[in-house]
Each structure stands twice: as structure tokens, then as C-alpha cells.
């Protein structure tokens, strides 16, 4: 089992945390054998999940904590995102495609396209979003 942890504080005008996702969390995906297009999708899905935290859980407030852990087992890639913001409204969005002329509403479609397993829980004021992706079949 490989594991990587990152943590950062929110700043809606900053994108430094993108680098942590790209360089640290995607190490697991590369080691697991995902191709570059799949890695782009996984990275994008994590960015969308963090965008949701910044925009909706924290209402764009700066200096709020976000932590992401990544684990790769023999069968799956798993990321868990933790924040202390407002609870997510349930049920989680299905990820149905947005209307093509809609300005927004594509984030969950992107998340679910890369992570077929999505679960949410809240414990002691902490939001926990779990994203799972089976590993690619060996060549």
C-alpha cells in the first residue's frame, strides 16, 4: 500500500495547491499504470472537488484547511478529501451532463467520470469525501 498526504490552506485567488495535486497525488496514479489522459482526468476531478470545497464549503473564505490523502492498493486508487466547512447538501449530484449552453454545473460530471466510487460523510464537523477508482487492467 502506497500513501501520500497533502494539506494546504484555501486562497481563492491562488492555484499553488494545483501543483501539490499534480506532483504529489498523481505520483500514485502514475505508479499504478494509468495513462496520461487518465491522469489528466483524475487530476481534474480532484481539482473540481477542491473547487467545491473552496466555493461551497468555505464560501470562498481564505486560510481554511483542506487535507487530501491518497492511497493505492492492489485493486484501487483512493483519495480522501477533508475540510471543516459547511456540510455538503445531499444527495450528492448525479453528474448528469449540464446543458451545453449552461455557464456552469459540470464539476460533478467531471468528478464522476474519473471516479466511479464516490462517498460522503461528516463526522465531528469534518466533511470527508472519498473518491475511488479501480486500477487499470495489467497489459
Amino acid at each position: 500500500m502506497q500513501r501520500v498526504d497533502i494539506a494546504f490552506s484555501t486562497d481563492p485567488d491562488d492555484m499553488a495547491w494545483h501543483g501539490l495535486i499534480e506532483t504529489r497525488l498523481m505520483l500514485l496514479a502514475r505508479a499504478a499504470g494509468f495513462d496520461e489522459l487518465e491522469i489528466f482526468g483524475l487530476q481534474l476531478a480532484l481539482v473540481e472537488a477542491v473547487n467545491n470545497i473552496i466555493e461551497h464549503a468555505y464560501d470562498l473564505q481564505p486560510d481554511q484547511p483542506v487535507a487530501i490523502s491518497g492511497e493505492c492498493s492492489a485493486t484501487e486508487l483512493l483519495y480522501q478529501l477533508r475540510d471543516h466547512g459547511r456540510p455538503m447538501p445531499l444527495p450528492l449530484p448525479s453528474g448528469e451532463p449540464a446543458a451545453t449552453d449552461a455557464a456552469g454545473g459540470r464539476g460533478w460530471q467531471i468528478i464522476r467520470a474519473s471516479f466511479p466510487g464516490v462517498a460522503y460523510a461528516r463526522h465531528d464537523g469534518v466533511n470527508l469525501l472519498t473518491l475511488r477508482r479501480p486500477l487499470p487492467a495489467p497489459d
Binding site: 481563492p12 482526468g41 451532463p97 451545453t100 455557464a103
Partner: protein
């Protein structure tokens, strides 16, 4: 962040940044809108330098398209990478935009 912009035969050619994401999308959206409204409404958006774009970035080009069409113009996309193209296909936006492999072809398509 300032969008790269030039005019060619009355067509606005705009190059998007290397990353177009939530942190800079609002700024990019405002600049693109101003460029389009100051011109003919005929716009080519070059994505050659854009290696990463999230749903906020997609919203920037959708808003640009809507602004251009309100002026009876259009917004064409050019030179997107395979990964950005996959994002457009996933979100079905490839059915909304005319997408060209190179900028010259996109400019020429305006006739």
C-alpha cells in the same frame, strides 16, 4: 494575468493562459468579454498554451461564445491539446464549438 490578444483581418485572436481555472477564470472571463464587445464579435480562441482547464475555464469560453453570438458573431477554438479536447468531449461542448487544428484555419473559416 493579461490575455494575449491581436487582430487579424478584423478577427480577434485571443490566446488563453497555460492554466485556466477557478483562481483566474473570473479575470479571464471579464477580459474576453471586453475584447469581444470591443470588436466585430468574430473571435478565435487559441488554446495552444493551455495545458490545464477546469469547469470554471470551460465557463469562460462558453460565456465568450454567448457574447460573440449576441453580436451576430461566433467564437472558434483552435489548437487544443488531446487532454483539453477530451474535456470538451466529456462535457459535450465539442458539439457547440467549431474546433480547428490550427489558428490559421480558424481565422480563414470566418471568410
Amino acid at each position: 494575468m493579461t490575455l494575449k490578444h491581436r487582430q487579424e483581418n478584423g478577427i480577434d485572436v485571443v490566446t488563453l493562459p497555460q492554466r485556466l481555472v477557478m483562481a483566474n477564470a473570473g479575470d479571464a472571463r471579464a477580459q474576453l468579454k471586453e475584447i469581444i464587445q470591443s470588436g466585430s464579435g468574430r473571435v478565435v480562441v487559441n488554446l495552444a498554451e493551455t495545458s490545464f482547464m477546469d469547469s470554471s475555464g470551460l465557463a469562460v469560453v462558453v460565456a465568450g461564445l454567448q457574447t460573440a453570438r449576441k453580436l451576430d458573431g461566433d467564437l472558434y477554438l483552435a489548437q487544443m491539446s488531446d487532454s483539453i479536447r477530451a474535456l470538451f468531449e466529456l462535457t459535450r461542448l465539442h458539439t457547440v464549438f467549431q474546433i480547428f487544428d490550427d489558428e490559421t484555419a480558424a481565422v480563414r473559416a470566418f471568410g
